[in-house]
Amino acid sequence: MLTRISTYFYRRPNLSLALLLGLPLLYMFVVYLGSLFALLLNSFYYLEEFTGLVVREFTLRTYVTVFSPTNLGIFGRTAGMAAAVTIADALIAFPLAYYIAKFASRRARTWLYIAVTVPLWSSYLVRVYSWKLILAKEGILSWFINLFHMNFLLDWLLSLPEIGGSSLSLSPIGMFIAFCYIWLPYMIVPIQTALERVPKSLIEASGDLGASASQTFRKVILPLAYPGVIAGSIFTFSLTLGDFIVPQSLGNSRFFIGQAVYSHQGTSGNIPLAAALTMGPVVIMIIYLLLARKTGAFDAL
């Protein structure tokens, strides 16, 4: 019986393929892209102020609200934070990923890999709240800084306009630190994977042809790891763009996109505005991906 079934499928490769891909494709198009489309549709409706009801007719007036100075400020702030987090994570992740991929022994590599991914096993909320404690005015970080008599540095940082605040946990700096920590594994893993695919002989060849270690790094290692950096940056950038837990728990009262969306769809029931605001990160990501493609990051994929 089983033999007959497998023979049947063997003779009909297209049917086998359809059965294999059918469900995932259905999910992809109906649930995944469908919900995005619903979002887009909703962003062209508007909320009637007096009745508090959504009016389902095509209009651009919700988008006019999106481009208000307040909302543009939110976009700018969020994109700036996402960019800063991405750059910082790339700078932290690269040396670590390089070490894991090229120098660590097999055993050390396994342990480092576990160390990088272990935070992902615990709840993200727990980690955000522990950062809240670490960064608090009486928290362990301040205590540590105090120990080394570096208070003046902390005070100076917190006194900076825009990014400062009354304490680390209540300032954008603290939010930046927490973001960097939370998304770091998403940067390390792709870079490490990219570096692992660079054969050792390429690095040796570069040295053999007269390049010093720093020249080899710039001319060979960095260009080959670049797709990994871009892949990692897509994670860190988009995750920061859409997050609303960290800005809610840390930092000051100024909104980020995620928070804005959350409050519009939740408390005020303004789903069209929430949808339109969500289109912001989508557009930003599309622009980002197009720019990344221009630099040739996807050629190696």
Binding site: S201, L202, E204, D208, L209, G210, Q215
Partner: protein, 342 residues
């Protein structure tokens, strides 16, 4: 007299307890095509990597044209390498790959271009400038790797089993080409291989490696005709090794000797034995017809089995297969035996 291109003075390289290279002394002459031949793990590649500078000797000195380079990093040594996997930079064009060494040396672009053109002509890939390594075949990549190394005019070119990944026809063609290029540029080539035929084809001299030591150094003819040890006799080509009672019966001397299968003549059972020949009687046990030649396994009366190869100059497969299970007399010239040490 010029200094030797490469000189090893008691070079050892240990990896933990393993002596990959064990007190090797070696002299490679200026301008020669030198092969390091041996099975995997015999230390030949480690020797090459120490010349390039990718590995450092545990003890001993390496001299490059008289200059001690033991402590110099690869980028300060005047040697270049053609890697086993070619190691072409996948993100660069062919022009970028070949010109890499010149770019590092900050040679002006126009001069770099001229030399890249010259190299592409040398390796017979004119017009390949803008392709990427992934668009080339194995043989073409091989040529690019060669051009990329040669453009720097190294004092010594190191080749680490560069033909290993190519198919037989292409490999034979590249062997001839490599040798021609070496003659043309006049650079000392050091070639690592485990393929004895490759080593015999191209080399001026061969060093046979085994367990981190050199068993024998000599010209291809010396290595083949006069192997110094049983290992060399067995690794380079096929050899019949005869010792003890049988050796005494044949030569009157119990010392072990080797004789190549193609040197032995398969005669009829009672053929007359000429004075300048040794002989041994036996029975043909196996006949393997291989087109160009036939391989016979002959069991001697003493019990040993000898391999005999005869070209099929006049015979057909029908003729040779009849020899099976027939008694035979083997004859070979006394000049063709080679006494072996231990």
């Amino acid at each position: 007299m010029t200094n030797p291109a490469i000189q090893f003075e008691k070079i050892s390289r240990h990896f933990g307890d393993v002596k990959a290279v064990d007190e090797v002394d070696l002299e490679i002459r200026d301008g020669e095509f030198f092969s390091m031949l041996g099975p995997s793990g015999s230390g030949k590649t480690t020797c090459l990597r120490m010349i390039a500078g990718f590995d450092r000797p545990t003890s001993g000195r390496i001299l490059l044209y008289g200059q001690d380079v033991s402590d110099l990093p690869p980028f300060q040594r005047d040697v270049n390498t053609v890697f086993q996997d070619y190691a072409l930079f996948p993100h660069m064009t062919i022009e970028g790959n070949i010109g890499y060494g010149l770019m590092i040396k900050k040679v002006p672009v126009s001069e770099r271009k001229r030399q890249v053109d010259e190299m592409l002509d040398l390796v017979q890939l004119p017009g390949f400038h803008w392709r990427k390594p992934s668009q080339l075949s194995g043989g073409q990549r091989q040529r690019v790797a060669l051009a990329r190394a040669l453009i720097n005019h190294p004092k010594v070119l190191l080749l680490d089993e560069p033909l290993g990944a190519l198919d037989l026809k292409l490999r034979q063609q590249m062997q001839v080409e490599l040798k021609a290029i070496q003659k043309k540029v006049g650079i000392t080539f050091i070639f690592v291989t485990h393929d004895q035929e490759e080593a015999l084809t191209m080399s001026d001299r061969i060093a046979v490696f085994r367990d981190g030591k050199i068993e024998q150094i000599g010209t291809p003819a010396e290595i083949y005709e006069r192997p110094a040890t049983t290992f060399v006799a067995g690794f380079v080509g096929t050899s019949n090794l005869i010792s003890g009672e049988t050796a005494k019966r044949i030569t009157g001397d119990a010392r072990m000797f080797s004789v190549r299968p193609e040197k032995i003549h398969l005669a009829t059972a009672n053929e007359k034995i000429p004075a300048e020949m040794y002989s041994a009687d036996g029975v043909v046990r196996e006949v393997i017809y291989l087109g160009l030649y036939t391989r016979y396994m002959v069991e001697l009366d003493g019990g040993e089995t000898l391999v005999v190869i005869e070209q099929n100059l006049k015979s057909t497969s029908m003729d040779v297969l009849k020899a099976k299970d027939q008694p035979t007399r083997l004859l070979w010239s006394k000049d063709h035996i080679n006494h072996l040490g231990a």
